[in-house]
């Protein structure tokens, strides 16, 4: 029974939210329904946009960019994090970059990225990458530097090469930290891509949002907002699923 409630909990909360939204709009508590259209109007607009193919196209575009940005950030962040966590030279070289890059507002680099990479997909992927790579690198570096010394010693004494120690001992040992960083990084990738599409783009969910706003089509604006939220929710859920599979060895499945 508790299980059922905890399973149904998110759906229940969502239903309450949508219900409240509906009531607030229909009672006029939020002013003009043009400012905030009700859930019914947004759903109808979503249906239109779905059938005229523009919503599926924007979803595919944004999803592709997010996955590309995330995959690149995961690879680069993991390599950089392992290097920083395990080698003092790499740490000395990379720490200033991460130290400056992590807190910097990545959107500030976007104009430069557009000049460099053009108006198309590459600049959005680059912004998503920039948002995602730092939390991943920082999390992997922290986890890699905390790998128990005896584990790497054991591997070395068995004759493991430097790269075998890095990828077969340090990496799995740092996996909990890596996955925590990847979750933050994934959200960063979504933010980066979406914001990039908002600023300069001719396609993608971010562009659809801005287009709705400019054309005073507020229903379309909210379709984009809901779509990107659902996208984030689903990708995050997949990541959690992957973590549960990858972390079966952990005591009590220490996730959280």
């Amino acid at each position: 029974m508790m299980r059922l409630i905890s399973r149904a909990g998110p759906l229940l909360a969502l239903a309450v939210l949508i219900g409240a939204w509906h009531i607030a709009v229909s009672r006029g508590w939020l002013g003009n329904p043009f400012v905030l259209p009700g859930p019914g109007a947004v759903a109808r607009r979503a249906g239109d946009l779905w059938s005229d193919e523009s919503l599926p196209r924007d979803l595919r575009t944004t999803l592709g960019r997010v996955l590309a940005a995330f995959a690149l950030a995961l690879a680069a962040g993991t390599i950089a994090g392992l290097a920083m966590g395990r080698s003092t030279t790499a740490r000395a070289a990379l720490r200033p970059i991460v130290g400056l890059g992590f807190p910097a507002p990545k959107i500030a680099m976007f104009p430069a990225l557009v000049i460099l990479l053009g108006l198309g997909t590459a600049s959005k992927v680059a912004l998503g990458f920039a948002e995602a790579v730092f939390p991943i690198a920082a999390a992997v570096a922290a986890a890699a530097s905390r790998v128990p010394e005896r584990l790497t010693w054991s591997a070395e004494s068995m004759g493991a090469s430097r790269s075998a120690v890095a990828f077969r001992v340090v990496l799995p040992s740092a996996l909990p930290g890596l996955l925590a960083g990847a979750r933050v990084g994934l959200i960063g990738a979504i933010i980066g891509v979406y914001v990039g599409e908002m600023v300069v783009s001719s396609d993608g969910l971010g562009h659809a949002m801005v287009a709705g706003w400019r054309q005073l089509d507020t229903a379309q604006l909210y379709v984009s907002v809901v779509a990107v939220s659902v996208l984030g929710f689903v990708l995050d859920g997949l990541l959690l699923l992957a973590r549960r599979r990858l972390m079966r060895w952990a005591p009590e499945n220490a996730s959280g």
Partner: protein
């Protein structure tokens, strides 16, 4: 030992002029937490012959683990040298297997996976690994535990997996840091006998750290008593009980009580064991 019988001249020459392990003036200090240094090892000279079983006993904190780490090549000594087969030890290597006091199992690998990992590093073919891993696990009495993860094991079981994993390396030198410390008396006795049998069959050279004087007397050719920090070799005892030996024979030997008392008296003088 079979190898010696096959090459009597060869092995006799090796034994005469070449120790398996030769420690000369090994010293080690650690940087203290605040300021200054802690000298753990004051200067240790020790030769271990090929195929010899040597135990190290000494007060806790005197640097026994540190000494094994130096021989293993994981940390460097501040002074002196360590030779293995006449070559200066400059890093870890599969010629010196080690069983750590903390087990150091890979938590993301199953019991079988941990042992298989060591076999793979040694170049055992993928096809032969499961069979050999199972044989090693059965040697330490863990036939049923192969699919469990380390987090699902008791301390004693972890220790046995660590032993099996190190045996999988098939190194000529075995460094063991209180390997039976977490075991109940019965398992401990069983594994002591098993270790003696493996040692006898394979002719490995064993350097064995223990807190148990009884264990040292039962297993060893020689027992090295270390002084408290900064440690030096305080005494070397050669029990000389005949081999192959049983526990009962050792306990019943006329010299057992005197040796036991001598080692204990030395440890008592050095401080808390």
């Amino acid at each position: 030992m079979a190898a010696e019988a096959a090459h009597p001249v060869d092995s006799a020459r090796r034994e005469a002029d070449e120790a398996k392990l030769r420690l000369s003036g090994v010293a080690k200090s650690y940087a203290g937490r605040r300021r200054g240094t802690v000298q753990a090892i004051g200067g240790i000279d020790l030769d271990v012959r090929p195929g010899e079983f040597v135990s190290l006993v000494g007060p806790s904190g005197c640097g026994k683990s540190t000494l094994l780490y130096i021989i293993g090549g994981f940390i460097g000594a501040d002074g002196g040298s360590v030779l293995c087969d006449g070559r200066e030890v400059s890093g870890p290597g599969p010629d010196r297997g080690i069983v750590f006091q903390e087990f150091a199992l890979f938590p993301w690998k199953t019991v079988l996976g941990n042992v298989t990992w060591a076999l793979a590093r040694r170049g055992v073919s993928r096809k032969d690994r499961p069979e050999q891993a199972r044989r090693l696990l059965s040697l330490v009495g863990l036939d049923e535990a192969g699919r469990l993860y380390p987090s699902e094991l008791s301390g004693g079981m972890k220790q046995r997996v660590a032993i099996a994993r190190t045996l999988a390396m098939d190194s000529e030198v075995l460094l063991m840091d209180e390997p039976f410390g977490a075991l109940d008396a019965q398992t401990r006795a069983l594994l002591q006998e098993e270790l003696l049998r493996i040692w006898d069959e394979t002719g490995k050279t064993v350097l064995f750290v223990t807190h148990s004087v009884e264990e040292a007397l039962y297993l060893s050719d020689r027992i090295v008593v270390l002084s408290s920090r900064p440690s030096r070799v305080r005494d070397v005892i050669t029990p000389g009980f005949p081999r192959p030996r049983t526990r009962e024979q050792v306990l019943a030997d006329s010299s057992y009580a005197a040796l036991y008392e001598r080692i204990w008296a030395e440890l008592r003088e050095e401080g808390p064991a």
